[in-house]
């Protein structure tokens, strides 16, 4: 039945005389699809097929060092990933890193958005400048933090400590003392502007007349914030948090650059890289990849739901 309706729709749409043969209509239908096909075929070949391949490989014993031992492994690789000490640690690090970066940059982003929502001289300049960290190429940012800021001998942080407190100032080795926090902080610096942008958009869509009314009724700034601003911003907070989380779960360059995955900072993407690139264990690495995808899908589902509820709010 669907074939009939679509053929009818096609003939009606293209203005072709409906009495003409259906083969013409079919040709018309393909002509409509044709412009999309190159892009679609390209995406299927380069992304969908490899993804299917990843799923297949994740169920196989496949190590490039033992090419003859290729066989079906069932769920063994997944068992390995979920029980192996390194892999489990990588999962924990991924969760810590994602939650930490998202929460801190959300709180900072909210504070900054509230500040930039107020009127002051040079506000638009400040807004534009705030985006700067987002424009620095991530690898360059990670290198900048590692070498120019954290470095124990010549880094800026220790230099400032020495400048302020004199020669007896403490000179901590930031990266080896607090490796995960060091990675986290450089990511927070990069992601805060992103959170700020979305939250600022949310703040500006706030109905100001209601806020004015509340103020006239004697509500304090704090009351307005907790009872009106925060509930209004809830969806924007969720959206920016979830979008950020999708990217930070997959973060590889910061971990690779700042600590090379050492000192207990290897997250899942780094674990995959290591298992696949150095250990050549394609099966286990693929299983870990599938787990990352499942995690991403879970977060993405929530993100989509938030976007949809925002749509509904708009159309109400």
């Amino acid at each position: 039945m669907s074939a009939d309706t679509s053929a009818a729709a096609v003939t009606k749409d293209s203005g072709v005389d409906p009495d003409k043969s259906t083969s013409l209509a079919k040709a018309g239908a393909w002509a409509r699809r044709a412009p999309l096909l190159p892009a679609l075929i390209f995406m299927i070949v380069v992304t969908q097929l490899p993804f299917v391949a990843t799923i297949v490989i994740s169920f196989m014993n496949w190590n490039a060092y033992y090419p003859k031992d290729r066989s079906f492994a069932g769920l063994d690789n997944f068992k390995t990933v979920l029980t192996d000490v390194n892999a489990r640690e990588a999962i924990i690090v991924t969760v810590l890193l994602t939650v930490g970066v998202v929460l801190i940059s959300l709180v900072l982003g909210l504070a900054i958005a509230l500040l930039l929502d107020r009127k002051f001289k040079g506000r638009s300049v400040a807004r534009t400048l705030m985006i700067t960290p987002f424009l620095i190429v991530p690898v360059a940012a990670a290198l900048l933090w590692k070498h120019a800021l954290y470095n124990a001998q010549y880094g800026l942080f220790n230099g400032v400590l020495k400048f302020v407190f004199g020669d007896s100032a403490p000179q901590p080795d930031w990266i080896s003392d607090h490796p995960l926090i060091a990675v986290m902080f450089s990511l927070v610096w990069q992601w805060t502007p992103f959170m700020m942008l979305i939250l600022l958009a949310g703040l500006q869509s706030r109905p100001m007349d209601v806020v004015e009314a509340a103020r006239i009724d004697g509500a304090s700034g704090w009351q307005i914030f907790t009872n009106m601003t925060l509930p209004h911003l809830r969806q924007y907070i969720e959206l920016s948090g979830l979008l950020g989380a999708i990217y930070i779960v997959q973060n590889f360059d910061a971990v690779f650059t700042i600590t090379s995955g050492g000192l207990g900072t290897a997250n899942l993407p780094y674990y995959i890289y290591q298992t696949f690139y150095s250990a050549h264990d394609y099966g286990t690495a693929s299983a870990a990849g599938v787990i990352v995808v499942i995690g991403t899908i879970i977060i993405a589902t929530f993100a989509l739901r938030t976007v949809l509820s925002l749509f509904r709010e708009e159309s109400r």
Partner: protein
């Protein structure tokens, strides 16, 4: 003092603290890159000896100039090809009704959400089979596929916003489809093309995971991995390192500034409305 002055003082302090937090690392990068004397951390807080030497040295040392060129080739190819493919796809989705149209739209969205880690292994093996590891073409193919989903979704909104009556008027005036596309549709969706190109540009310029796994020959590296190698080889040349980081960042800033107005509007309105 009145409470009012206190609030304004507080606000000023907060804004200054904020700008220090966001801008200081960038300022430090620039001042070190432009400073002739940069032995250690605090030397460049206030640059004392303005020079461009660091830039010319970084650009000519090792293969850094080559990395920039490689990245430029990969990025431009990605932007042009994915822009053309996405434009055609967007017209099909926005203008024509056909079976599986919504299936295809969902498929495109799913592609957008796949992380690099889930694809890198089979793609690496495939490229190895085709002997395309260390070839920029292999990297370009992957980047095009990754920039297509956003490009199609974004562009089809712009195409759908062009009133059909304009197209029909062009047909009535005797234009064929191609002529109508070139003279009516294309000029009207230029803002959309600018925004999508900027996104593809930034994605291809900054990508790291695939570049790291596909490329190993030194003269084939792109800027992300190249910059890392450069840092490894010149740990003590502070000025050179910061100049190199600055050069890698400049194209992104230029593209952003050029596209800013459209990008800002598109980013915010597309995300929440």
């Amino acid at each position: 003092m009145t409470t009012r002055t206190w609030t304004s003082v507080g606000k000023t302090v907060a804004v200054v603290a904020l700008l220090t937090f966001t801008l200081f690392p960038v300022y430090f990068m620039l001042s070190t890159a432009l400073n002739g004397q940069n032995g250690s951390g605090t030397d460049s807080l206030v640059p004392s000896d303005f020079t461009l030497d660091n830039f010319s040295r970084a650009f000519t040392e090792d293969h850094f100039g080559r990395y920039m060129l490689n990245s430029a080739i990969v990025t431009v190819a990605t932007v042009v090809v994915s822009g053309a493919l996405a434009m055609l796809g967007a017209v099909a989705i926005a203008r024509f009704r056909f079976r599986f149209r919504s299936t295809m739209l969902v498929l495109i969205l799913i592609v957008q959400m796949l992380p690099a880690e889930a694809l890198v292994i089979p793609l690496f093996l495939q490229m190895k089979d085709w002997r395309m590891l260390n070839s920029l073409l292999g990297l370009i193919l992957v980047y095009i596929a990754f920039s297509l989903p956003f490009a199609i979704w974004n562009l089809q909104g712009f195409v759908a916003a062009v009133p059909r009556e304009l197209e029909e008027a062009a047909y009535l005036d005797g234009c064929g489809w191609w002529r109508m596309f070139r003279s009516v549709l294309l000029p009207l969706v230029v803002p959309g093309l600018v925004a999508t190109s900027a996104f593809s540009f930034v994605m291809a310029w900054e990508e790291f995971t695939f570049a790291l796994t596909f490329l190993s020959k030194d003269d084939r590296l792109t800027v992300g991995v190249g910059l890392q190698r450069f840092f490894g080889a010149h740990v003590n040349d502070w000025g050179g390192l910061m100049a190199a980081s600055t050069m890698v960042t400049i194209p992104v800033v230029v593209v952003f500034v050029l596209a800013q107005r459209r990008l800002g509007a598109g980013l915010v309105s597309g995300a929440v409305k």
